[in-house]
């Protein structure tokens, strides 16, 4: 089972309750919740918030491809994943991403969760513009997208 979506912060909110409801299964003995939040510092600057930009269609396609790859590459039983990423402004402490996964055993959920977040960082078209306490803001440099089908 899989769910992946971009949530616009101006109209919606990503929620742990929704994630938990989605991944709960009597077949799974392990669940893991990864939550990304906006921290107060980066590169020696005081961060007050982050604006996330996203190519929604490619992001949602990328989430599904990453999950499908994980299912192929890892040894998982009854894998389930819920991935939501915020788009728009997220204040300090706010949640930018939830990756909730479930599977039969604990080792499987740790592997699955780690695989998903690391691949998102490498190839999913989401961008961060950090805002600082001196009223400046800056796009973070990021990683060039690799075409995994090449």
């Amino acid at each position: 089972m899989f769910h992946g979506k971009v949530i616009d912060a101006s109209t919606g909110i990503i929620s742990l309750d929704k994630a938990q409801e989605f991944i709960t299964s009597e077949k799974c003995g392990a669940s893991l919740f990864f939550i990304g939040t906006v921290r107060n510092h980066n590169n020696n600057k005081n961060v007050t918030g982050i604006t996330y930009d996203s190519h929604d269609a490619i992001v949602e396609k990328s989430f599904k491809e990453i999950f499908d790859e994980a299912v192929q590459k890892l040894t998982l039983e009854h894998p389930c994943a819920f991935i939501e990423h915020t788009k728009g402004y997220v204040p300090l402490g706010g949640i930018s991403i939830i990756i909730a996964v479930a599977a039969k055993h604990r080792s499987q959920v740790y592997e699955l969760s780690r695989y998903i977040i690391e691949e998102i960082k490498k190839r999913t078209p989401i961008w961060k513009k950090e805002h600082y306490d001196d009223n400046e803001s800056d796009w973070l440099k990021g990683n060039p997208v690799i075409d995994t089908k090449k």
Binding site: H55, I120, K121, I126, W139, V145, D147
Partner: protein, 89 residues
């Protein structure tokens, strides 16, 4: 021919709108789009090396939401998205 490039991430700062329109020779491909964009940046923002670096390190996606390579052929009224280096999570 004319093509439209939708801007994302740091590339949004290239223009006031969320897109750029480029005039290119017929049968141009993505490699020529990148070269054209580099010329655009050098003309409009001559001192901005950061923008040049963004264009050099960006990928491009087509209307089917697929990442396309330098040899991907374009036609009149084609649309591309520029995908600068990513960093979500």
């Amino acid at each position: 021919m004319k093509i439209k490039i939708e801007l994302f991430g740091a590339a949004r700062d290239f223009a006031q709108d969320d897109f750029l329109e480029l005039a290119l020779p017929t049968k141009s491909n993505v490699k020529e789009v990148r070269e054209n964009l580099l010329n655009f940046i050098q003309t409009k923002y001559p001192d901005n090396k950061n923008y040049l670096e963004i264009v050099k390190r960006s990928a491009f996606a087509n209307e089917q939401n697929e990442i396309v390579q330098d040899d991907y052929a374009l036609s009149d009224q084609s649309k591309l998205c520029i995908i600068p280096p990513v960093g979500g999570g």
